[in-house]
Symmetry: C2
Subunit: 307 residues, 2 copies
């Protein structure tokens, strides 16, 4: 089943201890769409500028990604520059040129309206809410947010959380949103704001999914997917969006919405995140096969599997 | 099979956001011995002062722990005071009175000499090496260390690592010992120093065991045990030593030394660490049943188990 992905398309300039790339295709919707495209049909909603060329378009076309929702605006595409030092968990921003992204108003093409799955990437929560309300046939909405929105537009975010079924954020964001450092207590507070499930990403330590009582079936405990320790992290950019793409893409590919599906999705999220960081930009995500993905899924399973 | 535990016995004064206790029984050998006592016969080697009373002795006796290797010296027992703020991962030391522990020279009673398992708690690496060399029948030695020894007595520690089969340290210590922040690369460097296996503890995210190639059987990948997210961490003191006690105690209780045993031991380590932090000091470790332990082991398994 198809999933609509709303977010940014950008050109990234990235430096890490392993090297440097200039103006490569990036952005949250790009990483998400490429990762999800190995599981299901993806439909993008984003905005690009006049510098978005045929070669960029082709990256999406090769993966069967629907780009009819990518608006071409006058001006330049969103550009971001950043670098990572020894601590690969922390990006230092060198520059942000919002360009056409500054006035981004997501327009959902009529052809997308039958989609049953939706992912709201990290954009202004009011825009997220507007998209969700426009799409009548959605069965499951995943959403992302970040510190900026938690601090600057808290009231709007709280409203939007009522429309999101599964929120995907990291430890720091969960702590900030809940005003509570302890992870399970923070999760309880976030779930009380609306979502039926909360995925907290722990970077190299994997991710945990917490369920609201009774949501997606029964069970008392959260669930954890580990992450494989990786020797060569070339570029962490997009790891979180790739995680979300694997997670949501797998869910959309399944008929049922139950805990077992969400648990497996959590593993697939970790798998796609682990591929993303192996090369710069989206390079690795562009060249995968489903066999490679399922083979790493098995490695992730065995990582914590007792006989 | 019996395990000899060498380390400290102390009286701890601890303050956390959940409360405060004064001069309660603690120390690395104490936490280790209590945790391991649920799995196997434990024999302690430590030193205490004249303030070590019958009531303290009884804590060990109730758990069938052999205390013939606890030396009674003139003076006071090692005392430590510390507190934790919101970040429960980081202890702030208020005072350290080494007292009789300052001149601790481990003496192994002749009755302990047939033990096949040994745990060298966090003491001077030269003392650790001396104990190991004295004990001729040991099949497996586990060891701990800390930043202080890594920085101050690096040469001695490097020698001691050649005598340790399984080293148990945390992320920060692994990074410092290897001079390398990336976890799998750091693990490879540490394993090249001597140990056949390295356990890296990640606090609330569980632990990973790395194997030297061919050690304890075959396999290409490390193994991870998750940790259950805990709502009420009353007192993190002793969590690492309790982890080591569960890990080594389970291994000593098994006849064979293979990867499957070490993997299960990693889960039992996490289980004992999770109990330790639920109450102040050793309170929870004193009152457990094997049924409670195995029930939590099941919860830990299910935490990452896919159908």
């Amino acid at each position: 089943m198809s999933i609509v992905a709303v977010g940014s398309v950008a050109f990234d300039t990235i430096a890490t201890p392993s090297g440097r790339v200039d103006s490569v295709l990036g952005g949250s919707a790009t990483y998400f769409a490429l990762a999800a495209s190995y599981f299901t049909e993806v439909r993008m909603v984003a905005v690009v500028g006049e510098d978005f060329a045929v070669e960029h378009e082709e990256v999406f076309e090769k993966h069967g990604i629907d780009t009819r929702g990518i608006e071409r605006a006058k001006g330049k595409t969103f550009r971001w520059g950043g670098h990572y030092l020894e601590n690969l968990n922390e990006a230092k921003t060198d520059f942000t040129e919002l360009n056409v992204f500054e006035r981004f108003q997501p327009h959902i093409p009529p052809e997308y309206m039958d989609s049953e799955f939706l992912f709201l990437g990290n954009i202004n929560p009011s825009l997220q809410a507007a998209v969700r309300q426009e799409m009548e046939h959605v069965r499951l909405t995943g959403g992302d947010t970040m510190n900026f929105w938690i601090q600057r537009t808290r009231a709007e975010l709280i409203e939007t959380l009522k429309l999101i079924n599964v929120l995907l954020i990291n430890d720091t964001e969960a702590g900030m949103l809940a005003g509570e450092r302890n992870l399970p207590r923070a999760a309880r507070k976030v779930l009380a704001m609306g979502p039926q499930a909360l995925v907290v990403k722990h970077g190299e330590y994997g991710a945990t999914i917490f369920f609201r009582e009774g949501a997606f079936g029964i069970g008392r405990h959260p669930f954890r997917a580990p992450a494989l320790p990786i020797e060569e992290v070339k570029d962490p950019t997009g790891a979180g969006d790739s995680f979300a793409g694997g997670f949501m893409g797998y869910i959309a590919s399944q008929g049922q919405l139950n805990r077992e599906v969400l648990k497996r999705a959590l593993f697939y999220g970790g798998v796609m995140g682990s591929f993303a960081v192996e090369r710069f930009g989206t390079e690795r995500l562009q060249s995968l096969t489903r066999e490679e993905i399922d083979s790493r899924f098995q490695v992730f399973r065995e990582l914590t599997h007792l006989e």
